[in-house]
């Protein structure tokens, strides 16, 4: 029985184990689809929408997040079309305007091509990517934190806002938080909503490059360095 499926991502044929996501397949081959809320081995949620791709079905393009899209035989994926790049840039702009004080988010925004931010900065502490919630739930089986409220009132917290006994204080949630990355000390004030983009090369350290990068066209546009954050 065939345990692998073959699909086309941006013109290159890749094969991946049955049941894995398109994002997994792409990353395995060094095709860098940018991603934020995705974590390997932990359930995907499709919340950040940075990893969106075009799935071409019968000539019709369906935009969906690649982390939740299960790879199927003969799938045709476009991960770096002009439309996708524009959407990604707009989403990254929303993210960086919400929480400009994290280098992880600054980096991803700069890489997606954001220089000037058209919205006033909000200086939030959280973008609700849900990495902490999912790691607590999936990996440590504690469910000590979760999402509370909905819409713009949504936040991450303990049940009834009190640390429960079943929180094991493993701090995995903090380890994985995007907001703990110290921001670049560039212009980040209200009224100066732009990103200089000068420091991207220094944060994305070369030691993360695992050596199997194929220097894809995608990476050129995105400034990819195989960094998982």
């Amino acid at each position: 029985m065939n345990q692998y499926v073959t699909l086309t991502i941006d013109g290159s044929k890749v094969s991946t184990p049955k049941g894995s996501s398109v994002l997994d397949a792409a990353l395995r081959y060094g095709i860098c689809i940018p991603h934020l809320c995705y974590l390997p081995t932990i359930s995907e949620s499709g919340a950040c929408r940075i990893c969106i791709v075009e799935n071409i079905v019968n000539g019709e393009s369906i935009i969906t997040s690649s982390c939740t899209l299960v790879a199927k035989e003969g799938m045709v994926i476009r991960a770096n079309s002009e439309k996708i790049r524009k959407l990604r840039k707009n989403i990254a702009e929303l993210l960086v305007a919400q929480a400009p004080n994290s280098r992880a988010i600054q980096d991803i925004a700069v890489k997606c091509g954001v220089r000037e931010v058209r919205y006033p900065f909000r200086h939030d502490d959280c973008i609700l990517c849900g990495r902490c919630v999912r790691v607590c739930q999936d990996l440590y089986q504690a469910r000590a934190i979760g999402f509370i409220g909905r819409g713009s009132q949504r936040y991450v917290g303990f049940p009834f806002d009190e640390r429960p006994d079943f929180c094991k204080r493993c701090w995995a949630c903090i380890d994985l938080c995007l907001m703990k990355e110290t921001p670049c000390d560039g212009p980040m004030e209200i009224g100066q909503e732009y990103l200089c983009g000068k420091c991207e090369s220094t944060t994305m350290a070369p030691q993360f490059d695992s050596g199997d990068c194929i220097r894809c066209e995608m990476g050129k546009g995105f400034g990819c360095t195989r960094h998982n954050m």
């Binding site: 939740t68 993210l95 819409g151």
Partner: protein, 617 residues
Amino acid sequence: MHRITSPENLESVSRRLAAERDDGKVLLTVCGGPGCQASRCHDVASEVRKQVKDREIEGKVRLRVTGCHGFCEQGPIMLVGPEKIFYCHVKPEDVGEILHHSVNGGGVIERLLYTDPSTGKTVIHEADVPFYQAQTPDLLLQNRQVDPLSIEDYLAIGGYSALAKVLSDMEPEKVIQEVTASGLRGLGGAGFPTGRKWAACRAAYGEEKYVVCNADEGDPGAFMDRGILEGNPHAVIEGMIIGAWAIGAREGYIYVRNEYPIAVEHARIAVNQAREYGLLGDNLLGSGMEFDIQISRGAGAFVCGESTALMVSLEGKTGEPRPKDVEPVERGLWNKPTTVNNVETWANVPSIIKNGASWFGGIGTEKSKGTKILALTGQVRNTGLVEVAFGTTIRTIVEDIGGGGLDGKKIKAVQTGGPSGGCLPESMFDLPIDFDVLQEKGSMVGSGGLVVMDEDACMVDVAKYFLEFLQDESCGKCVPCRMGVSRLLEIVTAITEGKGKPEHIPLLKDLGETVTEASLCGLGKTAPNPVLSTLNYFMNEYEAHINEKRCPAGVCKALIHYYIDPEKCDGCMACLNVCPNGAIYGEKKQVHTIDTQLCDKCGICLTACGRGAIAVQ
């Protein structure tokens, strides 16, 4: 009461019940829909019961309290006799007179009749009321014929005969074929062909399958699902059983929002009645089919009307949509194949089976078949539920059925499809109600809300209102919907406050497109519609707000100011006395003035002035 054990048994029971109801008694039908309940129809009904008892005329009169008839504006509504004399605004005091006339035969009560405002003449029979004339009632007609609390009423009009037909001589594939051939599409909003959904669910791999009825209707001003589930729950149940037979499901759920307590209660009673009659449970009508329905109450989240969020909520988790990369027909509720259909879609199924696919296919347009119930609200004379065939133009609905604008005001736009639908200007009122046509024009049929706005409505303010609703009701899971909608609202609010900049318009368009394309669920994908459609059709209003700092409709408080016309003011001091801020100065018999610094533009003076001297600029 006994279990019905075979299709033949069902037919004889139905015939007996129909004969019992045809006994020459005068039938008084009181509308018990939500609108009429608000205008105290239950007082009328209990007065009828009391007086019938007092006068000892139980043998001559039959009272039936039904579900919504549609014409909520005129409630409480009463229909008398088989000829359906139409009385509106009935009060308990009128009951004696009505009984007297109806029992003693002949005669109508002139003052309770409906007056057609365009001709000034009174109308006696329901069929002649202009509100009903342009409609094609099918489901709403059934609403008028049955008491929702009585399964006998439903059986008497031929209820569950479609189920008997299916169980006795239709293979599941044939049922799916019939529904596919009828062209029935999901009436909850998306318009997905129902037959195709059922076929995919039947073909999906799995022992256990589920059917779900989506009655989590959350659009502001929409109440068609409520009208059906409250008025005729057995049609929904019958449709679900037929669907379950076609798909191969043994369990079904009705997910109804808890804000509809009567719908919850009526659905519960109906399910229990169906169980008692052997129409739910084991061995349905002797066919060996096994099926039961549970009622699940939603906690009032708008997003739970989205099918994937609904299923997550049914599983007992937080109601958030999940990606639809795997369709619910393959992996839905508890990862089992699931068919979710709207109340109206399920309720249409029995009629399709009974009358055949070609009957249903004969109504409507080429691609949208059958009828659609719309909740007509806003600034029109006649509001309520209307059921029209697909293809009816918006103008017919607004002008013929709705009776035109209130107080003779000119109608400017309609908002179709609830908060995530779009606004269409008056110039496009000749468009038909059709899934594809409205979609193409940037709006949608949606669940069927139809909000009419007249010249007093500011379209920027309307967009702001709907965005506020969507921001509150977004689940907050994905970035484009949560942050995008809140940024859209931020920008639109700035425009209404006179802080708009010319570059805001391209930004709104760009961001709106991003939210539409990249959001996770259907709610997010349609959330920018109010902004995009108003930008498309009412750009002049946005430009007036941004460039001239002027609100043409006089709604946005930051952009208007009140003043007193010295020609008209006679110094009566009426406005001065009502102003809560003391912003109006003046002596008696002298022209008054408004202090714009103190005025907070509440508009109370406007209504207090009898001479129309206060104006908005």
